[in-house]
Symmetry: D2
Subunit: 268 residues, 4 copies
């Protein structure tokens, strides 16, 4: 059964045509203001997703529940965020699933934490750490707004310190110096489980991969993803967009390898 | 607590160095054969993930549990599969989460179905349809091997027929003629909920987007993703790989818009 | 012997650091004005290329002779221009060389004409046509400024009309409807010689390639080129730029094939 | 006037349909052998470009004069070559034109030398150097085959040694250690004139750019070019190719800046 929008809920308002989007928390008696006019929250509450609402000057807006990717883009940003295109790749690399326990080092603005928390619900748990206490506060507000606060534990941790959890299913590093956190990541991971990280420069990439090798990680793989928008227009025709985001980071994945002599696995 | 490999479980064996991978179901008394020698399944069972096992000629293999992306690549293929890079993007577009009810039209080899089933576990449900009964059988075997059979219902359905489910949280189309299934997708989706599709050619893209517009979808967005492997070598240096997969398909996402006159949402 | 800048010559002035560029024709007694101050042309004339000149407020500008790519970017634009990255590919496809006689259909702003004229100098000849007389005038001014007027003949011609030249070494089409000009291109080309064209959409590409096949062209090849800027910074590290031009057009090349039954080329 | 193929000339034979190409020097009485049959050179000599010739088993081949890009691909390779897509960009960066005098350091197999020699004809001159005498011999044979020997002077030179020419219009470096040759390049260039180089790794790129800055080059610009083939098929539709060359090198261009205090260029 489709549920109508309720007070206290976030609504994504999308300008018809132009496509600019706004994330609005519905509150009784409040108004949404834009350069295309004003909309009373009371006129949205009680409607179904996908409804068109008109501003007081008659301009149409579409009302949707935000998807997790919308929430990631709409966090209050105090840092660079992980882009959805990269987030999807990382989520697969980390083999995320309901119930998983995951460490994130480098909470940043919490955008990726929101995705992690969605994918491990309802019984999983995200342990997220940042070196900067002042960023954590903002991130936790973003995570709470997304409704994921109860699955997330956050703390201040410096790269190089041990993680205060063990036997976790996956680790994600989004740090200026991921190599400093790699030994702690190895220690915290359950045997064989995946790690992923993102870095912007070739130098950081090289140092990270070196640290992964030294710590005993295997299946180390690096890629970059380019997402190109395509314009599909009935009259003008189909063509790629003229502009695109060229680069958002190098993505690395790896798996924890156990040290020590191999067991007698060979055939008698 | 890390669990050891058990009989009946799939193990990903990875050649040390070269990186070729094999998906092996452990059975008592059986052997894995490769050009790098033989390994007794009994020598793997009871070990932890991340262990190195030696073949009878002393060549090392790493043993891991397959990630969902590994399973997608390792399905017995009778069709083109959705690549993990695209799958991650689609998963975010569809706002997948535990408990979701999702329709997939175009089961193919079941690779993407396996991801869908992992992400909606434990209480969600995947309804997957294909026009070709003979492909469904193979797909269901792939899905069962991945341990997801209990969350997946499959059936034969021709593009153009109504979907036998309603009020679903998301629809994914992977068909030669997705436009034929778009009205049925609209009917099956709960208000406001997302649809995604993948097509290989500009012509199919144009016809699909036209059908989405005519059916009343909004927020229609098209992209392509390019994944480029990066070589990170200590001595030779950091550089992109010389070869890459250039194209796997155009990805489209959209959301179901409700028809009819907009409600009186404007401020008094 | 390096020659000093002379009056009547174009100089490329480049802001130190920021890199904004200005193309300035030196005239006695004139001044160049920018938000970083004023420079007397008399202070540039007589200097060598590569010199740094200071504005009246002490801001440095570098003075260079414009390269052909700079001239292409600096034409007075009344149309989309062919980008240098594409121009290089096209120049090779057309096998340009000194002395060649080349037809261009779609003069536009004359940017590519300038490159053509440079590469066929001193004895070659460019025949360039446009459907719009008002664009030709602007293009010819751009071409004259680049010093290439004596190698260029221009005229108004509608796509579909025969070209008023024959036996040319190469043809380049930059038109909304290149397919209309392809029979004329075939007729004008010497046997075996190359044609190239650029189009922005998949639909135009398809129709152009169809027309090439029907007219009897062979070795038809289509590519797109993506140019990504790389940032090389001593402290921050090496990484691709965050933004790039995603698409400038599909590039097609082909060669004129002779019709009729193949000669008795086989071994007795 | 179109000229017929003559003995002593190179002909590009292209398999109809499949598109495999062969570069064949016509000699009286000789035969071309392929898995699609045999063709007598005498059956090609005297024909026009663009003609179809049949092998002794009736398989068609198209006969064309090779374009410069064909020659670049067809050199006898003892090294990695500069790809045509990159060559076009470099040619524009170097502002090549008839009459130019150009230094190339890193002759390799001579592929790029062939392009240089074509573009500076008839009066220009290419000075090309390589550290390995044994490669020069092969390169000179390739250059001679392309008919450019009279415009090319070649010699053995170690990176770091001064170039034996001065006041040149452009310098191109294709070396494992271009930074070692950059001071010599600066010394050999006329004031303000361009240099370009190509390197495969991020580390080489960084060291090269550092050396350019230290030597006093300005307008330093780095890009990479990705060329993606597009399939244009009447029935199956338009789509990018599934495979592409992902990376061939980082391209750098720069211009020689004069040292010393800026002249009094400011307005009184």
């Amino acid at each position: 059964m489709a549920e109508a929008f309720a007070y206290g809920e976030d609504v994504l308002l999308v300008e018809e045509g132009k496509g600019r989007t706004f994330l609005v928390r519905l509150e009784p008696g409040m108004e949404f203001h834009s350069h295309r006019g004003t909309i009373a929250h009371d006129g949205i509450a009680g409607q179904l997703e996908g409804t068109t609402v008109l501003s007081h000057i008659g301009r149409p807006f579409l009302a949707f529940r935000p998807r997790v990717g919308d929430r990631m883009f709409k966090v209050k940003r105090r840092t660079q965020i992980v882009y959805p295109k990269d987030a999807g790749w990382i989520a697969l690399s980390l083999d995320l699933r309901p119930g998983a326990r995951v460490v994130e080092m480098g909470t940043g603005s919490g955008a990726f934490t929101i995705l992690l928390a969605q994918l491990v619900a309802p019984t999983g748990r995200i342990y997220t750490f940042d070196q900067r206490a002042e960023f954590l506060e903002n991130a936790l507000a973003n995570i709470a707004r997304a409704g994921s606060a109860d699955r997330v534990e956050a703390g201040v941790l410096t790269a190089g310190e041990p993680f205060p959890v063990a036997g976790v299913d996956a680790v994600f590093l989004d740090l200026p110096t991921p190599w400093e956190a790699i030994p702690a990541a190895w220690a915290a991971l359950a045997p064989g489980r995946p790690l992923a990280l993102i870095v912007p420069t070739a130098e950081q990439l090289k140092e990270s991969v070196r640290a992964l090798r030294e710590a005993g990680f295997a299946l180390i793989e690096t890629v970059e993803l380019m997402e190109r928008p395509i314009l599909v227009r009935e009259r003008e025709g189909v063509r790629p967009s003229e502009r695109m985001t060229a680069f958002t980071g190098y993505l690395v994945s790896a798996r924890k390898r156990l040290p020590g002599p191999p067991p007698a696995g060979a055939v008698g």
